[in-house]
């Protein structure tokens, strides 16, 4: 099962969180619970480092915090839907959060390819509607991987 980047365990819907820090913490918790991290502190540091270069909001209340990091064990994707939007940057809010974790070493192109394919899907209006509205983690999983 090592090549599965996202499972229903890595999807959490309509969670109440107060701010960006809490969101990143929750993304990390989901990854850790599914044994996808080597070192959570290292991963968190790398995610913030990436946010500092360019914040990862892509508009439409979607944000994609991510890092290629030595703290990551397996290439993974997390989807966290918030109960209400939070301030992601001074200018932008976010409610639909896709966390991406990629190991620093030995990453194979297949995983990078899957992740980039998923990222592209976030621009598709049909898929956007499912990830925003569906009450079913299974349906969301299917939409992301279809």
């Amino acid at each position: 099962m090592d090549d599965v980047i996202i499972t229903e365990q890595l999807i959490a819907l309509d969670i109440e969180l107060p701010d960006k820090d809490a969101v990143i913490e929750a993304v990390v918790d989901l990854l850790a619970a599914d044994h996808r991290l080597e070192d959570r502190e290292v991963f968190i540091r790398d995610v913030y480092e990436r946010e500092e270069i360019v914040p990862t909001g892509i508009g439409d209340l979607i944000a994609i915090p991510h890092a290629r990091s030595a703290g990551v064990a397996r290439a993974s994707l997390v989807y966290l839907r918030l109960a209400a939007a939070i301030q992601w940057t001074e200018e932008e809010q976010a409610r639909y959060i896709f966390g991406i974790a990629v190991p620093e070493a030995n990453v194979d192109n297949l995983h990078l390819k899957i992740l980039s394919e998923v990222a592209k899907k976030l621009l598709d209006d049909t898929i956007k509607q499912i990830i925003k509205e569906s009450a079913s983690r299974g349906e969301i999983l299917e939409a992301l991987l279809s």
């Binding site: 270069i53 980039s116 592209k120």
Partner: protein, 107 residues
């Protein structure tokens, strides 16, 4: 068919490179352009622009936060934006091309 080409890249090369590319393709097509965007991501270069692509293109959009190969675009109209601009303001970026805002690259 008139053609637009470009290059997208972002700091990690995992997600935003591809989202920037898709956004430009979407808005370019809305204006009747044939679109080809090279992506320089963590997994390497995909959709690499050929000499023919560059010759045929009306203009080039460089949506990059990292260094990309530019010498090949010498003499073409090139518009430089960030990957974030391409993602958030894709429609405006294409409009800038239509308005002739791309300047001949001749460093």
């Amino acid at each position: 068919m008139k053609k637009l080409i470009g290059v997208a890249s972002c700091p990690a090369g995992i997600a935003h490179t591809y989202i920037a590319a898709e956004t430009l393709i979407k808005f370019g097509k809305q204006h009747g352009y044939e679109m080809k965007i090279e992506t320089n991501g963590a997994g390497g270069t995909e959709n690499r622009l050929t000499d023919e692509d560059i010759r045929e293109a009306e203009a080039v959009i460089v949506a990059a936060d990292t260094r990309v190969e530019l010498e090949r675009f010498r003499g073409k109209p090139v518009l430089f934006v960030s990957s974030t601009d391409a993602i958030h303001r894709g429609a405006e970026v294409i409009q800038m091309i239509l308005d002739g805002k791309a300047e001949i690259y001749n460093p």
